[in-house]
Structures are given as C-alpha cells and as structure tokens.
Symmetry: C2
Subunit: 349 residues, 2 copies
C-alpha cells in the first residue's frame, strides 16, 4: 500500500484542526483502514497565515498555534494567508476546504473550490456555500478536469446523506425528502417540550456549544434553507436557488403551542423539504410542522439530525445521526477523501 494523497487544508478552525489531529494521532490506523496514507503539505488560515512543506507540515507545531500565534515560525511558514496561491500550486492533490459560509453568495468557499477544480485538484468541503450556490457549475467543472467535488459534511456532518442517495439507494427513485437539518433549532424545540421558554432553551444550547452567539441562522431557518437547496441540487442535478425556497423559522412557535401539540401526541419540528413536480421542477420549503408520533421524523430529538427520503420502490427510508460536531464533521472530510480515492482508482484501471 504505497498510495498517498497530499492535502492542503484551507481554513484551520475546529473542523480542519480536528482532521489534522486525527491524521497526526491516528495516521497509521487510518492508513490501515483506508488503504492509503494522508500527508498535510499545506495549511492556510486568515488568523495564522500559511505553511507549505512538501515533506509534510510539522503538525505538532501547527496544532500548538493558538490565539495570537502565526505559522511564521514553522518550516515553510509565513504570516500572510495566500489561499489562491496555495490552492493553485502543485503542493497538494486534494484541497480540503473548511472556511466559513457567507449565506448570501457562498463566498469565499465558492472561489476556493473553483480554484481547486480549475487547477486539476479534487476538492472536498464541509461548507454549505459552494454546493448551495453552484452545485451544477462545480459538478461540470470537476467533470471537465477529471477530478471530484465532494461536500457530504455540508448536510449532516458525518452522517451520510448525499452518498447514501447516490450509492446504496441508486435506482430507488427518490421523489422527495424531508429533514430535520439543524441541531440547534431541534434542540430548542425538544427542550421547550420539557418546559423551557424558547429564550431559556437558546441560552442552554449556547452554553452547550450547539448554538452560535448569534443564533439567527439556526432559529430563523436560513441554515436549513441552504442545506435543502444543496441537497436538492446534489440529488437531482437541478439549479434550485436558496432565495426561491420559502422559509420560516421557529421564532413564532410559542410554549403554548408546544404544550398543546404534546397533549395531542404530536411534536413541532423544523422541517426542510423538497420534492420534484410533474415537470421535473423542484418544490422546496422550510418551516415548522406538527408531526404525528408515528412519523419517522417525530422521534428525532435534541441535536440529532435526520433525512427521510420518499422513494418509488421502498416508500420512506430514513437516516439519522449527528448533524454537527468537530470530530463528526472531520470524519465527513475523510469519507469525502475515500470517495475521491475510489474515483481515482476506478479512473486509472
């Protein structure tokens, strides 16, 4: 087993840092499990600058970088962050993109992905932006350059949704899907069922690290909207735009409504859904729904996420698992790299 991929990590926040830590700590075990090895040859980050080293970045020292530190003291390091140069150079085989998502235009991740694919590298990302705004363009760009674009982690972190649909469910006739795609809002609804007010539940979610300091995107539904857009476009190759998905959050759900629903054996859930219309168009929406106890998504509680596929041959098939978390999302990147390796292996034969 002599196969190795050189990785350039773009962004060194929680997710890519955890990936680096897994490769540093468990590299040998991972190589045994996957059948190939991984070397991190570049890292860039707005805070720390960049480091490029064809023999492999010194991960001990990179991982030790904290607030106020830079990569300047590392072998091959410098204080400035030059994403485009690193992505377009020959330092890596695979670009691992994990920067933040701007919900209005998908940048800067979208440019990072474009640069990678255009310069002949496969790219994986946990970022919702690129596939939500340009799934079709990026798939064509990857195709043209005989590389892959993978973004499994952007939907439910490590819980595989896109890959379940394209792999084991191939040919099953997926007509639509409904999902619980935001852990924070689901946690808040679950805690409101235990008697907390929405505000109390949000504060608790923030204390537990589920919710951002500004929980607007989670509670207001715009995070789910991006995921629904991304998933629909990945499933069907369509060009749905986020701004065309009618979206309501859970802000308007009162404690009384939660109580009344529970008394009737139902549960309020924030549901993102899409299905194909008669002419192949995509009809999508995001909003709170009251689900009967027997509904497959009704029992999905706390920070767990789930997607129920409506299929022609099987009826409903549901997958549930974590929807967030550092290690879970880092694992999604590993699963993307496995898919990229599989692509290269089948291409080369």
């Amino acid at each position: 087993m002599d196969r190795n991929y050189n990785l350039a990590l773009i962004g060194f926040g929680n997710v890519n840092r955890t990936l680096a830590d897994i490769i540093h700590r468990d590299g040998a075990a991972l190589e045994k499990e996957l059948g190939f090895s991984l070397t991190i040859t570049a890292i860039t980050d707005l805070r720390y600058g960049s480091v490029v080293n064809p023999r492999g970045v010194d991960l001990d020292r990179a991982l030790a970088c904290g607030e106020g530190d830079t990569f300047a003291n590392l072998d091959g390091g410098q204080e400035t962050c030059n994403n485009q140069d690193v992505i377009c150079s020959d330092i890596a085989d695979i670009i691992v993109e994990a920067t933040f998502t701007n919900p209005d235009d998908g940048e800067p991740g979208l440019s990072h992905v474009r640069w990678g694919l255009e310069s002949g590298k496969s790219v994986c990302t946990t970022n919702k932006g690129p596939a939500a705004f340009a799934a079709h363009e990026l798939a064509e760009l990857a195709n043209k350059n005989a590389v892959r674009f993978e973004c499994e982690g952007a939907v439910m972190s490590g819980t595989p949704v896109i890959r379940l649909a394209h792999g084991p469910l191939k040919g099953v006739g997926i007509q639509g899907f409904s999902g619980i795609l935001n852990g924070t809002s689901n946690y808040v609804l679950t805690r409101m069922e235990s008697g907390l007010t929405q505000q109390e539940a949000i504060v608790e979610a923030q204390e537990l690290g589920y919710a951002e300091a500004d929980p607007t995107a989670d509670i207001g539904g715009s995070d789910v909207r991006l995921k629904v857009t991304l998933l629909a476009n990945e499933l069907w190759g369509t060009q749905l735009r986020a701004q065309d998905v009618p979206t309501h959050g859970i802000t308007a759900i009162t404690e009384e409504e939660i109580k009344e629903a529970e008394a009737n054996g139902t549960h309020w859930k924030l549901i993102g859904q899409a299905h194909r219309g008669d002419q192949g168009q995509v009809i999508a929406s995001v909003g709170p729904q009251r689900l009967e106890t027997r509904h497959p998504l009704s029992g999905i509680s706390g920070a767990t996420n789930a997607v129920m596929f409506d299929t022609l041959y099987l009826g409903p098939v549901t997958i549930s698992g974590p929807g967030a978390g550092r290690e879970e999302t880092a694992y999604a990147l590993i699963s993307d790299i496995v898919a990229i390796d599989h692509f290269y292996q089948t291409q080369e034969r």
Copy 2:
C-alpha cells in the same frame, strides 16, 4: 449503452416474480436509470419446472403461470426443475437466488450460491441462509473466482444496511449494532400498545400478509437471530454461528407489561444486537428490551425495520425503512445487480 446482463432466476415465488415483472414492465426505464439492460434467460422453480432461452424467456407467459401450471409449454421450457444444471451452465452472467431459507443449515440456497460462484458467476440472493451460515466461505469463493456475492435484501429487504456500512460509513469504526429486524413481531408489539392481545395482533398481522401461517420464526426470534448472524459476519468478516446467539422471542411479553411500559414512557421492542469485544470476538443476542422514548429505535413502529450502528467517529447512526414486501425485496436484488455491475466495471478498466 450496450451493456447487458443475462439473469437466471432460481425460485419463482413472490420476490423473483416481482423482479421479472419490473424488468418486463419497466425494462426500458430501468435501463436508462442503471446504464445497462437485464435479460432473464432462465427461470427454475420447484412448482413450475425450468425454462432456458438464450434470447430471453417469454415473460408474458412465465408470469401467467399459476397454480398447477408448468413452464413445459414455454419455448425452452420443461416440467422438471434442474437448479444445478441451470446454475452451472453458461446461460446467465448473474444468478438471482430467491428460494426459501431452511433455518437449520441454510439449504438449498447455500448450495445454489456455491454452484454459482464456483462456476464463475456473480450471485445475489434475498435468502438469509447462505450468508448466515457461510459468509466467510462465500466471500472467499467469490474472491477466488473474481465474481461477487451480494445479499443486501436478506437483512431489511430493500433498505440498505450492509451497503451503507461498507460504502458511505467506511472508516467510521462500527463497533456494534442494534436493530429491529422483524416486521411481524414489531407490528404485534405496536398493536399490543393499542390494546390488542398478542394473539389478536398475530391474527391481524396474518390477515395483512405480514405474518406467515406459522409465525414461530417471527415471534420466537429465530428470524432475527439469522439476520444478526448474517449482518455481523458481513460487517466484520467473522464466523459467528447462529446457534451461538442467545435468543428470546416476544411470546412471554404480556399485555400488562406493554401497558406498564407505555405508562412509564417506554416501549418494548424485539432487539437483535451484536458488538465486538476486546479481543475482536462478536457478542450477539436477540431478545425483548424496554427502550426509553429518546432511544433511536423506540419510535420504529409497525412493519418498519431499523438498524442503529454504534460508531467510533459519529456515535449512533440509524437507518430505517421497510423490512419486507415483494417490491421492496425485488428492489434489493436490483441494488445487488448494480453493485455487481460496479464491480465488473471497475475490474475491467
């Protein structure tokens, strides 16, 4: 798209009959979706005899065969059923095995699968027997002959479990699993929660076609035991034997216990489970368990089945969907054929 596979259907009961009907009815749409065509060149069945036709069996007439009819009047047909001759001949590329399972030794399916693999054909089956009794041997036999053995439908009919584990969840570190793997017993438990006695619920399940005339294997747990054995051996390449899995059914669960559990916000479920011990050994069991409402399997009701994987990187990941049904199980065979095609395509490059 000129790729075609010739299929020999062994057994012409509900499942293979439905597969033949799908190919007959939707062949063109299926070919478009899958990228290859399917031709049924042989069918054998204990009741109807056998029919072999290199240009394709006349499916109109084969599907019209009912009680008391035989294949003798079809082009290439005869009254006797010669499974071994058909399987070992060159009439087909893929053997599609869907006979009954003898829970004591896995026959006759096990021999059918062996003959197919030994004579250089890929084999798919919905039969629990072969993989429950000889997963390891059959994997080696397939490997040696550069063909595939697939049995996704034997666990949860069309709902993918084995393929989810080996594909999208590769590298996630599956430490164990628990599942609701029998639709009849789960339906009975669900209906007992609505106030029926166990006997009433069994009769209802029989009337709906879920339960066999003799429901012993469903209610007594031996069906689940075979599935747990099969799944463990497929996941980990182990050689667990069904007789080593301690098994209890739901017969002893009383209406009072069901009521008491519900009053405490819990649900009785028949759980099949296995995990790996410290030395890599498999520890498996089948029996009723009282699950808290928040447990991922607690809300799986009626004839739905589910498997929860315990994973190292993601924690619990659960898939649920139909666990039985003609069309659902026939779809499992199509998904097996897709996997076989993928294998050949990657081999040939």
